[in-house]
Structures are given as structure tokens and as C-alpha cells.
Amino acid sequence: MRLPGQLILGAVLSALFIAAAILSLFWTPYAVEALEISNKLKPPGGGHWLGTDHFGRDILSMLMVGARTSIAVAVVAVGIGMAVGVPLGLLAAANRGSLLDEVVMRGNDLVFAFPSLVIAILITAVFGPSALNAILAIGIFNIPVFARVTRGGALSLWTLDYVLAARVAGKGKLRISLEHILSNIVNLLIVQGTIQFSLGILAEAGLSYVGLGAQPPLPSWGRMLADSQTLISLAPHIAIFPGLAIVLTVLGLNLMGDGMRDLLDPRLRRIR
């Protein structure tokens, strides 16, 4: 089987980003807490490959730790979305047209009316800002996405004869959902998961940028951009590198998602 170029490129970019995040657990070029005011806003080169920020911190080190924050937020948020959304979608599809289905779908519509930023605003207003906010806000927004994808995929499978055959073999809705439905929408979920993962990274950056996400001193790409905003004309590099990190990571994940979709099922045209 020939792997498509975009899948390889996407996988390489994503792997780089994950590797940087893992590496940051053990080693970074400089400690991210190390302030060196005398060395502030150094352009790339010399001892600091990507330069230093306004406190003299090493930007590469901050990017590596920031990758960790992004991954953690996005992974947990996708996890929340899947853990709640997939069972809801399966249940709704198994009981199509029932009150349960109606409630799940209307609930979905309702959550869709709250963009993740609005959810984050609500949570922050009550509990104050934190990285947990970002996770919860993005996670809650992911629930209807996965519920919808799961229900849509499951509904088309429920009309197939093999599901009927399983019912004739005396299997209940729950068992059929797990044995016959779930295994056939895994592809769909993997692809959607990749997409939501990259959207999660974008959303986390946005929330941290406006101060609703990760709080200092925890490094995060969105916060780095927020800090750089007033200094951008003075030292463009402190705005450019975190932005590039986001773009390349999201690009990598999207390419990987599209590539997997083409590979796993060419008929599948899920569009976000």
C-alpha cells in the first residue's frame, strides 16, 4: 500500500511536536523559570537558537514546555468529548426517534449555540481563570461534535442487514452497538478525533491568549503570543516563533487526519 505524501508529512510534523513535548519533561536547553533580564529580547542565534523573550527566557525551551500544555489540554478535551459524546451518539442511534434520541439531539443543538469561548467565559466568571477552564470548555464543546458524528455513522449502519441479522440472533441493542456498530465507526472517530485535536490546540491558544486559559508561570503558546503583542515591532521573533509552532502543529495534525481519512475510507467525506 502506498502511503500518501500528505499523511507522511502530517505524521512527521505531529511526531516532532509530540517528541518536543515529551523531551521537555526531561530536558530543555534552558530552565523556563530562568529569568535573565540582562539577556532580554535577544534575536535568534548564539546560545539561544530562537532568541529570548522580554524576561530573557529561552524561547525554544518555552515552546517545548508549551507543547506539553497544548497536548495535555487538547488530549483531555478530546477525551471528554469522546467519553461522553460517543456513548450518547450510540444510544441515540440505537433508539432512533425515541424521546432519548430527541433529548440528545436537542441537547446537542443547545451546546452548539455556546461556542467554546463562551463556555470558557462562563466558567471563568464563576471559578476564575485556569488551564482547567480551557480543558472543560473545549471538552464540553467537543461532546456534541462526537455525539453527532457517532450518531450519523451509527444510523447508517443500523439500516444494514447485518444489524438485523444480529437482532435475529437475539442480540440486544447495547451488545449490537458495541460489537457491530462501534467497530465499524472507529475509522470515523479516529479521523474526527484528529480534527478535534487540532481544533483543540487552536482553541487553547486562543483562550490562553485572552487570559482564559493557562495562567503564568505555566508556559503556553497562546500566552507567549499575548505577551509578545506590545513588543512585536521591537522584536518580531518573539511573536513569530510561537505562532509558527501552532501553525505547523495544527497543519501536521490536519494533514494526518485527511491522509488517514483517504487511506481508511475513500468514500468518507466528513467535513467540518
Binding site: D161, Y162, A165, V168, A169, G170, K171, N184
Partner: protein, 525 residues
């Protein structure tokens, strides 16, 4: 129209080889063959509408011009004006967001044959001609408001709007019910007579060709194996494939029915309603009575046919019998135990199994054949220890290899899959097997083999069959008794031969009259 030496490859794969035939003015020409024989590709080549990556050679002569050498612009002028075409699937062949009058008028407008206003008037006249008078089918209706047969009429109106010299009809009635099919074929025949056009009728159904065509060509694997005048060809088929095709089309398996008097299944006055889509947010959901006071009995070892057109309630009845949906009245008893949807004991359910129509949708593509066939063992209180051996036995019984257990379903053809579906149905030795259009998706030759298999299994295992089909000839071939269903009710019931030879109910008479048949004396030789 003169086709000579037409060959075609798509991305290097040969599709057609040296196809030659001629369609004379004013005649109906039949092109028959099984799926994948290249019939449709031939038609698309004639229209110049081939998919990308196609290489064509040979000659498609139309009034002295080779269409294969014509440019796209010239072909656009020809399509719709000189050659019209209609397709198999009327449900999707019309633009869903444009009203039917405009779609018919477009043929005229695009060829500059009329102004917009004149085209509307002409479209109206054409719609009347195909049997859609404006008082009942206003031209500002949308396709979704029409039935399949009515949509096919719109397609015909579109194709003949400019009175083309040739109409190509690619399986025009395959997706339609038999009575609708008869009406559409009648319409096509009338159009040929009235307007002096030629009709090229592409179909897999030999009876339709026998009924309609003046000349026939039989295709197989991209080649024309035999051609000639219809009656002559049927009477004196020379090519072995043609002969086999004719033989299999009317195939009736040898059956040694040993019917016991004890009933296996008893359906008493069953009523099944289901709620329709809510018309409004408020108010009650309207109910639809899909099965209305139906009773039937199947005795041990007996084959009973249930025929009717789409929407008559046969599938709903099947689901009720299988205990998948609750009934709103009446009782269903299987071997003396009552069938209740929802909480049906495994032991009762194990007495009946089912085979579905679609050989592709019937299996979970992620499981191996062994697991698929073993699925009904779920009904037993404890799974049998010799699961593999029993699956192997069932596979052998349907003519498959025991080693096929370890393969995935996509490794098998449609006919093989249907055999595996039968293996799944018999693996726990049920008393009753429901065959829901089980051979309808199969080609003639494969269908004959599967029918033989079913007859053989019935004799060996003493099975009872409930054979549900829209295809009267198949039902006639394999059942002892037949029930005719219309609009949720059983309108006629009796011994198969008797019902077919002297139908009592007007609907049955209509059904049988509408079914195209090859004249028996043609095949006698």
C-alpha cells in the same frame, strides 16, 4: 445507428471487445447481459459520456457520421436532440431542487429550439404525452412529490422532448414495481410507434426483451456473443452462454417436498401500525397501518411465497414475524410459542432464521466468516463446544469450504456471500427460514444455483421457507403455496400453480398480466 468493432479500456482494463451491432430506424433493439457485461458502457460510448481515463476504438456510426470522432460541441448538439437517454434510477435522476416542468423545458431551451415561454408550453404537452396531465401533475411540482414511476415518466418526457431519432433506455424499469414496469414499457412502445423513433433497450431481464424487442444482442464480458431477430434467437440459441442464460432464467429446482400437517408458524389477524413523521410540532403523530389483519400458516417442510409490490407491507410483516417489532393486534405463534417483540426467548427465536436481499450489507465487514456464521449460537444458553465444526458443517452444506471460516467477507463474490448467509441461517438448525428477497440481487445464472441449493437444503433438513419476493417467476419456481399482499392485506391465497394459472382476485390478475414472460413455445426447442 451502426456500431462496429467498438473496443474500450478504462485505465488499461479492457471493458469492451469488438462490439458490433446495428439499430434500425423505428425498431426496438434489446441489449441483454448480466451485471458487468458492458451494456451500460456501450450506451455511454454511444452518447460520448464516458468517464475519464477511457480509451475507445472502433466506430459508432449515426446517420453516416462516426460519433467517436465528433468534438464535444457537436456531441452536445446531438445529445437530447438526435439521441435521448434515460437511466435506471429515476429516484436520483432528476435535479431535486428544480420543478419538473423546467427540467423538461430545459431540453428545448438548451438546443435553442424554443423561447422560454414556448418551451414551457411544449414541456407541458410532452408531460401530457407521457401520462402526467397538468390537472394532476402540475409542472411546478418537484421530483420528491412524485413516485418512482412518475419520475421515470418525467425522464422520458425530457429525453423525447425534441423527438430524437434514437432513445437509449438503460434498465429503465429495473427499479420499478412490476405493474409500473408494464406501464412504462407500454409508454415506450407507444412512443416508438407514434413518433417513428428507434429504442435501444438495455436490460438484464430476458422476459422484458422477449416482450419488447425486434432484434436482440446478448453481451457477456464485454463481447456480443450472439445477436439476431428476437424470436429466432430465443428459438435457436447457438452459443452455450445464451442457452444457459435462457435455461436459468426460467429455472425451477427439483423439489421433493415432504409437507407435514403440523404448523410451524401461525400468524393470526396481525395488525402493525407505525407512527408517521410528525406533521407539526404539536398534535398527535398520524399512524400508518402497514399490516392489516393478516393471517397465514406455514406447515413443517412447506415453502410459502409472499408476493407484493414495494410498500405493500411484506417487509413490515417479516419484521413482526421475526419478533423485531411489536404488533398492535393479533398473535404470531412459532412451534406453539408466542412471539413477542422485545422479550423473545432465545430457544423460540432459534427456531427461525432469515436471509436478506443484499449480499453486501448482510455481514459485518470486520468479522471473519467463522464468527459471522456462528452468530446465531448466541441464542443458545451455552455456546456449543464444537462451534468450529458446526460452522464448517454448515459451510459445507451450502457448498463452501470449511477453510473459508478464516477469511473475511470481502474476499467473496455476491453469490458466495448469499451462500454464507444461508449457512448462517441454518447453522442452528431452525425450523423456519425466512428468505427476504434472498435471490433478487443475484444474476440469473447465480440465482439458479442458489435456488437449487435452497431446494436441496429443504429436502435435507426438513426446512420450512417463507419466501418473500416481488419477483413472481422466482416465487412460482420454489413455493408450494403463495399469498398475494396488497396495501397491508392478503388479497389472495392458494396453491402456487392454481394462483398463477387462474388468479381470482383482480389485483393478482393485474400482477400476473403485468409480468413479462418469455413465450413458452420459444423455449420449448
Amino acid at each position: 445507428m451502426q456500431i462496429s468493432g467498438l473496443s474500450m479500456t478504462i485505465h488499461g482494463v479492457p471493458i469492451l471487445r469488438d462490439v458490433s451491432f446495428a439499430v434500425a430506424p423505428g425498431e426496438i433493439f434489446g441489449l441483454v447481459g448480466e451485471s458487468g457485461s458492458g451494456k451500460s458502457m456501450t450506451a455511454l460510448a454511444m452518447m460520448g459520456l464516458l468517464p475519464r481515463g477511457t480509451q475507445v476504438s472502433g466506430r459508432v456510426g449515426f446517420e453516416g457520421v462516426d460519433l467517436l470522432t465528433q468534438g464535444e460541441r457537436a456531441m452536445c448538439g446531438l445529445r437530447g436532440r438526435e439521441i435521448g437517454m434515460i437511466f435506471q434510477e429515476p429516484m436520483t435522476a432528476l435535479n431535486p431542487v428544480q420543478c419538473i416542468g423546467d427540467q423538461v423545458a430545459e431540453t428545448l431551451v438548451v438546443h435553442g429550439a424554443a423561447t422560454r415561454a414556448a418551451a414551457q408550453a411544449a414541456a407541458l404537452e410532452r408531460l401530457v404525452r407521457v401520462g402526467l396531465p397538468p390537472d394532476r401533475f402540475a409542472p411546478d411540482r418537484y421530483p420528491h412529490e412524485l413516485s418512482g414511476g412518475q419520475r421515470q415518466r418525467v425522464c422520458i418526457a425530457m429525453a423525447v422532448a425534441l423527438r430524437p431519432k434514437l432513445l437509449i433506455a438503460d434498465e429503465p424499469t429495473t427499479a420499478l414495481d412490476v405493474t409500473t414496469q408494464a406501464q412504462i414499457l407500454e409508454l415506450l412502445r407507444d412512443l416508438v410507434e407514434d413518433e417513428g423513433m428507434s429504442l435501444m433497450l438495455i436490460t438484464h431481464d430476458l422476459a422484458v426483451v422477449a416482450d419488447m424487442a425486434d432484434h436482440v444482442a446478448v453481451m457477456r464480458k464485454g463481447q456480443v456473443v450472439e445477436a439476431g431477430r428476437t424470436e429466432t434467437l430465443f428459438r435457436t440459441a447457438r452459443h452455450p452462454y445464451t442457452r444457459q442464460l435462457f435455461r436459468d432464467s426460467g429455472h425451477a429446482p427439483q423439489r421433493a417436498a415432504r409437507v407435514q400437517p403440523a404448523p410451524v408458524l401461525e400468524v393470526r389477524n396481525v395488525v402493525r401500525d407505525y407512527p408517521l413523521k410528525r406533521i407539526a410540532f404539536w398534535g398527535n403523530r398520524p399512524m400508518f397501518r402497514a399490516v392489516d389483519d393478516v393471517s397465514l400458516t406455514i406447515r413443517s417442510g412447506e415453502s410459502v411465497g409472499l408476493v407484493g409490490e414495494s410498500g405493500c407491507g411484506k417487509s413490515t410483516l417479516t419484521r413482526a414475524i421475526l419478533g423485531l417489532d411489536p404488533v398492535q393486534g393479533g398473535t404470531i405463534t412459532l412451534d406453539g410459542a408466542e412471539v413477542h417483540a422485545g422479550h423473545l426467548a432465545g430457544a423460540v427465536r432459534a427456531r427461525m432464521q432469515v436471509v436478506f436481499q443484499d449480499p453486501y450489507g448482510s455481514f459485518n465487514p470486520r468479522h471473519k466468516v467463522g464468527r459471522l456464521v456462528a452468530e446465531p449460537f448466541h441464542l443458545l444458553p451455552t455456546p456449543p463446544d464444537d462451534r468450529r465444526a458446526r460452522v464448517a458443517e454448515a459451510l459445507r452444506a451450502v457448498g463452501m469450504e470449511p477453510g473459508d471460516q478464516d477469511k473475511f467477507i470481502h474476499e467473496f463474490s455476491g453469490g458466495q456471500r448469499q451462500r454464507i448467509a444461508i449457512a448462517r441461517a441454518i447453522v442452528i438448525r431452525p425450523g423456519l427460514v425466512i428468505l427476504d428477497e434472498a435471490v433478487s440481487a443475484l444474476d440469473v445464472t447465480i440465482r439458479a444455483q442458489v435456488l437449487d441449493l435452497l431446494a436441496d437444503l429443504q429436502g435435507r433438513f426438513g426446512l420450512s421457507y417463507l419466501f418473500i419476493s416481488h419477483d413472481l417467476s422466482v416465487v412460482r419456481a420454489i413455493t408450494d403455496r403463495v399469498l398475494v399482499m396488497q396495501a397491508g392485506r392478503i388479497v389472495e391465497e392458494g396453491r402456487t400453480e392454481q394462483v398463477f394459472n387462474s388468479p381470482a382476485h383482480p389485483y393478482t390478475q393485474q400482477l400476473i398480466a403485468a409480468t413479462p414472460r418469455i413465450p413458452e413455445e420459444w423455449l420449448a426447442a
